[in-house]
Subunit: 146 residues, 10 copies
């Protein structure tokens, strides 16, 4: 079973059971972002987590095994076209050097890790229109001479 077949089975089961990603995540007791990314084939789950996902979605053993495999993180489009994703690409283009300046100023020469990393997506209700709030939290990794 490939990661793509796994994702298809998960999405069909999820629709049939009328569950949201947040429902599944709260039953497995991990963050909705991590759970969704694993189900879309972009992260791997631990054995226990994978089993719980399959129990919630009433899926077989093969899905559980495939959820534990280490994924190849591939994306087709160098520049995303979907407007939801493109806006984040645009933010990286517009604010990338600003982020670099401010990380340098606060932490020294180094980067924010994208591996030792977590992300949350929240809804902020607002009478002028609700707002999406995304929080990224990554370990600072300093450059060191040797």
């Amino acid at each position: 079973m490939t990661k793509i077949e796994m994702t298809e089975e998960i999405i069909i089961a999820k629709k049939e059971l009328g569950l949201s990603w947040e429902d599944i995540a709260s039953k497995v007791d991990i963050s909705p972002v991590f759970l969704t990314s694993a189900c879309l084939g972009m992260n791997s789950l631990l054995k226990d987590q994978a089993k719980k996902v399959c129990k919630v979605l009433k899926l077989g053993k093969e899905v559980a095994i495939t959820l534990q495999e280490f994924p190849h993180k591939n994306w087709e489009k160098t520049i995303p076209t979907d407007p939801v994703v493109y806006r984040f690409y645009e933010i990286v283009g517009v604010y990338g050097d600003t982020i670099k300046e401010l990380i340098g100023e606060k932490f020294g020469d180094g980067i924010m890790s994208a591996i030792d990393f977590s992300m949350d997506i929240d809804k902020e209700e607002n009478p002028k229109g609700d707002r999406v709030v995304i929080t990224m939290n990554g370990k600072f990794l300093p450059y060191k001479s040797w």
Copy 2:
């Protein structure tokens, strides 16, 4: 005066005065992220804000005028090479579809605006290594039929 010449003058003045972006931002009373992005030529300031920046940095009228001009937001590299910026590009690639799924689930069909938008960059102290915390806050814009 081009935006590039403006940025060069600002950076030289900032170094000579030993000021950080956060120092300047607190004196102008806007967010460090927005202030830095405007000084790097990626946003425009209001007249008052621009004047304050120039007063803080002891820079002339031309810099203040150029800070108010509406910038062309250009970035050279389709895929950024600097590791600080690339890690954010990677996050968009790995988590882009996850973000789309969860915004869809929480808000319906639509996007997070990158224009009606703000960002903060914070330092979370941690004995295992400090962490970079980035918070993005953008208005949800729904697709509507007509």
Copy 3:
């Protein structure tokens, strides 16, 4: 059922029934542009709209469900090759900076939204050759400091 399979079924049914996009749109009571874009998989319909489309085209429940799904807006070609579409790409290249100047002049620093947006396509009869008239209407979104 994928969006692509949905589009194929719709196009076959449309041909067999000898209906135009405008016919279908007037029966569903939405704009022909929005209706066509949803049937081509580039927008989602509300439940009622989707049901009406399927009633008009004598299509099953699965098409109606797929019409309601939030699409991934993907286009294969960075630069379109079909002459109809390329001419619009050319217009963006030739007049893009002009549009930016005039929006800036009339509205201030900001953009025209492509999400809170509508478009109409009309025919202007003309003895020297009929003319295509396209009207785009998008909300102005101002940049704001924070």
Copy 4:
């Protein structure tokens, strides 16, 4: 004098005189879109028009000559990065095939000319936020066998 030098001189003069593109256009008696595109080096003016522009902006003969030259219409970025311009690129990607379908349905096999073409940009006041209205008007050119 190159078109780029011409544009620089025009923009400096325009700023010093405090004129908008619409001001200049109304004095030369052509559309603001066409006038702006010619001043940005993307179209050529007739002799009389070019002279009037230079009179309004108090510019010399060389600018008038250069405004009459037939431009090479070049744009650097295959995919525009500035958010104002990118949104139009996105519209072409999302609605390109829809436009092709509806032109085909209304006119037959053919294209909208981007040469025998005009465009207007208007402001629609709206209590929920003003709106940008762009009208494109191009001659339909049918494909014909030979």
Copy 5:
């Protein structure tokens, strides 16, 4: 039936009947270039023309219908690799600016239409080696201010 399936059926029938493109074109009474381009899926035929092609090639109704559909003109390779086609790409690169200069000089600012357009391909016999003669004929479209 897609245009690709249509082309495959036509090519098989043409081989079996031992007909050349010129044979078919003369029976349908249109130019060999236009006939070939329509059979390769790059142009559409009128009803009568399509029926005649199918009669000559002993092909069914579906091919005739597909020949009348308005094609999406797509080519895979930005830069063609086949030497026959590449040489024409090279000619455009080497002589493109020359053509622009001479059209400008003879006609004024404008373009040669690729839609209101015809092409012929002839053989010029020559003792030093036969020569290919290609004649393109397109309407001049002037740029006009508005």
Copy 6:
């Protein structure tokens, strides 16, 4: 003197003397297309031809020498953006395989040379709008086994 400097000098001289490319070509007694391409730096002239060009344009010896140098034929844009040149790129995309089929049918397996090659550009007067007529004439080169 580089080819670019040569072209600049030629264009300035041509403007000052009010000569067209056709005027110069007829005095040098070569085709306007070849003459123009050599002056734009895309072909080299023989000594006599180069001297005549410089005599007609009242230019010095260095221009004559540079006109004789073998050029590096470079074009910046993989896909041309100027509408005049793009239309020819589009013709290659739309009709490339058609040309290949018909050359194959008339001549056998081989190509039309782009080196042993000539081109003419003519104006066909037409009450419905004048037409550009371009004739390309290149030697057929057959593939041969060895």
Copy 7:
């Protein structure tokens, strides 16, 4: 039968019979380079040659017909990745201008034909390590004014 299917059949037959490309070439009496390129779908054979190949490889009539068809010469990768092929791409990059200089010096302004062309690949035994010797032989084609 496509060229790709043809190549697959030839390679399977060649393996089963334990023949090398050189064996086949010597029986068909053409050069191994040309024979191999035709079997890989990059050149066409004459009727007699095609029949001999099929006799040697015990393959049917369809392979013989397909070997005679004029191929579309396509390669997927703009820059080859396989190390054997990449090294030749590198040689073109490193020595391309050198080749141009020396052809210009020996022959005048012109090119080496890649159509009226042959190539041989030989093995030079050498105690320090055997060497690959590749000889290319192409007709010089001069540029000529017209």
Copy 8:
């Protein structure tokens, strides 16, 4: 002194002295291909060779030093546009897999080195038109397991 400045000085001196690359090479006693590539900045010379080149061309010490520096071998164009160089790129595309097959057959799994490598360019006189003969000679490097 950069390699580019070095090349410019060499080419000017070479023209003034009326020397060919072959003349210089024979006086320095290395191959014309290697000599030319070093003078174009794509290879480095030994001290003695560099001094001889400068003596022949009456150039100063700085050129001699720069000729000895190890070059960065860069070429701007992924796909060359100049017809002389493109034809070699085309040969790599058309015959690359053929070369791989025949090297594999004659030598085993491995490559022809582009470093332990030499090339010669010769003229073969021929009444039907002279021919360019290029001979490449590179060490075979086998893949080995470890």
Copy 9:
């Protein structure tokens, strides 16, 4: 059997038998890196090695034959997206010129071969977090004039 089918069979067998690449490599008595690369279709094995692999994995003769075939080394992505592989691409970008400088300083003008080459991957235990140690060993190949 293609290399891709071969890899799939090997990976399924490996999972079922619960073997690691290191297990297989130690039984075949070659390096884990080479063994893995051959099983992924990027290198070829000798007859004996291929047979042993198939014996260990209980796979048939066809896998053994395919393991011996000379592979086409292709990778889809010009810039890898998977974070594991991208980090090495980044290292090449950041340290490439440094490597060139130091090889030049220690060895003279030349390269490290990627063919006469071996690599090892080791684990260095470390209380602050284990470390990956990669050792590359390639023959120095000097450039030589001829």
Copy 10:
């Protein structure tokens, strides 16, 4: 002073003093690879290290300041062309998936850091030709759910 100007001054001083990168590194007491990368503008030095470099090279204060600045790590070429650097790009392409498999097998799902990272370049003398030995040492960073 930009990083590029800094590198130029360092290289000139290094040549004049006849020092190698290894000489400088041993005097500053850091690794030659890190020292070279900092001097080429790809890493930053600590104050003390920067001062020592300038003392060794007899360079002024500005170079020392620039050496301490946090660099933007940019490389021009997506695919390097210089053969020294390309071979490493090729190694990443050929062995990237192998490295991913073996890191996964030895460490679990995660990456080798390119930030918490060191590299050494050594010479292994060998009668059959000296060998380049490159050792990379990077911290393993595991993926963790949250």
